[in-house]
C-alpha cells in the first residue's frame, strides 16, 4: 500500500499543479462537457505510453538512459534527457511557485510578500531533498493528497445539482487536436520512475484516477461557472472554487494551489534527480551529478535566481513554460519509441505499436505548437534549448575523452 501511494504521488505530481488546473479550466471553458472526449483519448494514450516506457523488452529492466542510448547513442540520449527534464523543471517550477505565492498573499495573509512565500516553499522542498530522497517522496504523497482531497471536497460541496450557470450560457462546444494535446500534457508524469517495485497494474491505474478527478472537476465547472468566463480567465480554478463555496471555496482552492505547486516542483525535482543519477551511473556524468543534495542546492539557487530576476514577471513566461512542457512531451515520444522498438522481440507488433504511439505524441505536440499564438517564439525557444543541450553534451563527451582519456560514447 505504501509503495502504491509513493508511485501515485509521484505520477500525479504535475496533474494537480496550479498550471495544470488553469489549463484544464480554460479547456472546459472552450469545450464544455465535450472535454470528456479528449480526456478519455488522452487517458488511453497515457496508458499506451506507460506500457512502452515501463516495459522496455525482455531481460533486466533497463533505465531511462540505457533505453535511450541503445536507440540514439549516448551523447544524443544525454542531450534528450537534459532537454526533456531541465527546462520544464526550472521554468514550470518558477511559474508554480509564483502562483502559490500569489495565492497565499491574496487569499490567506495579505501583508505577507508573495515572493517571500514562494521562496519559503522552495526552501522547504530543498530541505526535504537535503534530508533524504525518501522524505521528498513521502512529502510528495502528502502534497498530492492535500491537493486531491481539496478538489474532492469542492466536488462534494458543488456536485449537488444546484449550479446551472454553465448549462445556460454554453457556447457551441469546440474540439481540436490542440485541445487533445493540451489534455495529454496534463497526464505527463507517467514517464517518471517507479520508486519501488510496484506492479504495472498500479501504473495503469494512475491515468484512470486522473481521468476520474478531471471529469468530476469538469462537471463541477460546467455546473457553476459560465463557460465564457472559464475560457477567458487566467485562474478558472479560482472562479469554480468561489462559485461553489464562496470564501470557504477560495480557502480550499488556496490550499490546493499551494499544495499543488509543492507537488509539481517536488515531482519535477525527483524526476530530474533520478535522470541525473542515471546519467552518473552510466558514467556520462561524474558521480557527484547523481547525488541528490548538491543537485537540490543548485536547483534552489537557479530557481531562486529566476524568481529574483523577475523571470515570472516576463510577458513570455507562460509561452516559455508551454515550450518547455512540449519539449518534455516530445521527450516522452522519443522514449516511448525507443522502449517499444527495443521490446519488439516480445511483441510482434512492437515496432508498429511504438511508431503509432510516438507518432501520435509528436502529432499532438506539433498541433499544440501550430495552434499557439506565439508559434515562432516557441520554435525559436525550443531550437535554442535543443541546440544548447546538444552542444553541451557533445562538448562534455569530447572534454571527458580528452582529459580523462575515456571514451564517453562507449560503454565501459
Amino acid at each position: 500500500m505504501k509503495a502504491h501511494a509513493l508511485v501515485i504521488g509521484l505520477l500525479l505530481s504535475w496533474l494537480v499543479s496550479p498550471e495544470s488546473l488553469a489549463g484544464f479550466g480554460r479547456g472546459v471553458g472552450v469545450s464544455g462537457m465535450m472535454i470528456l472526449v479528449p480526456l478519455a483519448a488522452a487517458m488511453v494514450l497515457a496508458v499506451l505510453c506507460t506500457v512502452l516506457i515501463h516495459n522496455p523488452g525482455p531481460g533486466e529492466p533497463k533505465t531511462e538512459f540505457a533505453v535511450l542510448s541503445t536507440s540514439y547513442g549516448r551523447t544524443i540520449a544525454a542531450a534528450m534527457a537534459l532537454t526533456g527534464r531541465i527546462p520544464v523543471f526550472l521554468l514550470a517550477s518558477t511559474a508554480m511557485l509564483v502562483s502559490a505565492g500569489f495565492a497565499f498573499n491574496e487569499i490567506f495573509v495579505h501583508w505577507f510578500p508573495n515572493f517571500l512565500f514562494a521562496s519559503l516553499l522552495l526552501l522547504m522542498i530543498c530541505g526535504l531533498h537535503l534530508f533524504q530522497e525518501k522524505a521528498a517522496l513521502w512529502g510528495q504523497v502528502v502534497f498530492v493528497g492535500i491537493a486531491v482531497l481539496g478538489l474532492f471536497i469542492l466536488m462534494a460541496m458543488g456536485l449537488d445539482g444546484s449550479g446551472e450557470a454553465g448549462a445556460k450560457t454554453a457556447p457551441p462546444p469546440s474540439l481540436s487536436y490542440s485541445l487533445f494535446g493540451m489534455i495529454f500534457l496534463l497526464f505527463l508524469g507517467f514517464d517518471f520512475y517507479r520508486p519501488g517495485k510496484q506492479k504495472m497494474t498500479v501504473l495503469y491505474l494512475v491515468p484512470g484516477l486522473a481521468f476520474v478527478l478531471l471529469a468530476g472537476w469538469a462537471l463541477l465547472a460546467v455546473e457553476h461557472v459560465p463557460l465564457v468566463r472559464l475560457a477567458e480567465s487566467s485562474l478558472p480554478h479560482m472562479l469554480i472554487a468561489r462559485a461553489v463555496g464562496g470564501d470557504t471555496g477560495g480557502y480550499i482552492m488556496g490550499a490546493v494551489v499551494i499544495s499543488g505547486a509543492l507537488s509539481g516542483v517536488n515531482g519535477f525535482l525527483l524526476a530530474l534527480r533520478k535522470t541525473l543519477e542515471d546519467l552518473a551511473e552510466n558514467r556520462f556524468f561524474p558521480e557527484i551529478a547523481g547525488k541528490g543534495r548538491p543537485g537540490a542546492i543548485v536547483s534552489f539557487a537557479l530557481i531562486e535566481t529566476m524568481m529574483m530576476t523577475g523571470v515570472a514577471g516576463d510577458e513570455r513566461i507562460d509561452t516559455m513554460v508551454r515550450a518547455s512542457l512540449l519539449l518534455w512531451m516530445m521527450y516522452v515520444g522519443f522514449r516511448s519509441f525507443a522502449a517499444g522498438f527495443q521490446g519488439q522481440s516480445v511483441n510482434p507488433y512492437g515496432k508498429l505499436y511504438a511508431g503509432a504511439v510516438a507518432g501520435m505524441v509528436f502529432f499532438l505536440a506539433g498541433s499544440l505548437i501550430m495552434a499557439d499564438s506565439r508559434t515562432g517564439y516557441i520554435l525559436w525557444f525550443q531550437s535554442c534549448i535543443i541546440l544548447g543541450f546538444l552542444a553541451f553534451s557533445f562538448a562534455w563527451a569530447k572534454a571527458c575523452e580528452r582529459f580523462t582519456n575515456k571514451h564517453i560514447n562507449r560503454e565501459e
Binding site: 509564483v98 485562474l235 510577458e315
Partner: protein
C-alpha cells in the same frame, strides 16, 4: 579617457533625468483610486505582465490590460487629457 568621461556623463544625465521625470508621476493608494472610480475621464491601465498578472485574482473592473504587444494601440486609444492610472503591482 574622453570616451570614458562621455559615457559617464551620459549615464549621470540619464539617471538624473529619470528622477526628474519620475517626480511628475504621482503614486496613489487604493482608497484614492476608489474615490476616483466612476469618473468618465479615468482610465485604469493594468500593466502587470506574465505571472504578476495571470496568477493574481486582484483585477480591477474595467481596467484595460496593457502589454508590450498592444501598447501602441492602447496609447492611441486614450487621449492625454484623460486621467491615466497605471496598476503595476
Amino acid at each position: 579617457m574622453m570616451k570614458k568621461l562621455s559615457v559617464f556623463l551620459i549615464f549621470v544625465v540619464l539617471t538624473l533625468s529619470g528622477v526628474v521625470f519620475s517626480d511628475e508621476v504621482k503614486l496613489i493608494d487604493k482608497d484614492e483610486l476608489k474615490a476616483m472610480l466612476g469618473n468618465p475621464d479615468l482610465v485604469i491601465l493594468d500593466v502587470r505582465a506574465g505571472k504578476d498578472w495571470s496568477s493574481s485574482e486582484f483585477k480591477i473592473k474595467d481596467a484595460v490590460r496593457m502589454t508590450d504587444e498592444n501598447m501602441e494601440a492602447v496609447m492611441q486609444k486614450f487621449s492625454k487629457d484623460k486621467t491615466l492610472v497605471f496598476y503595476c503591482a
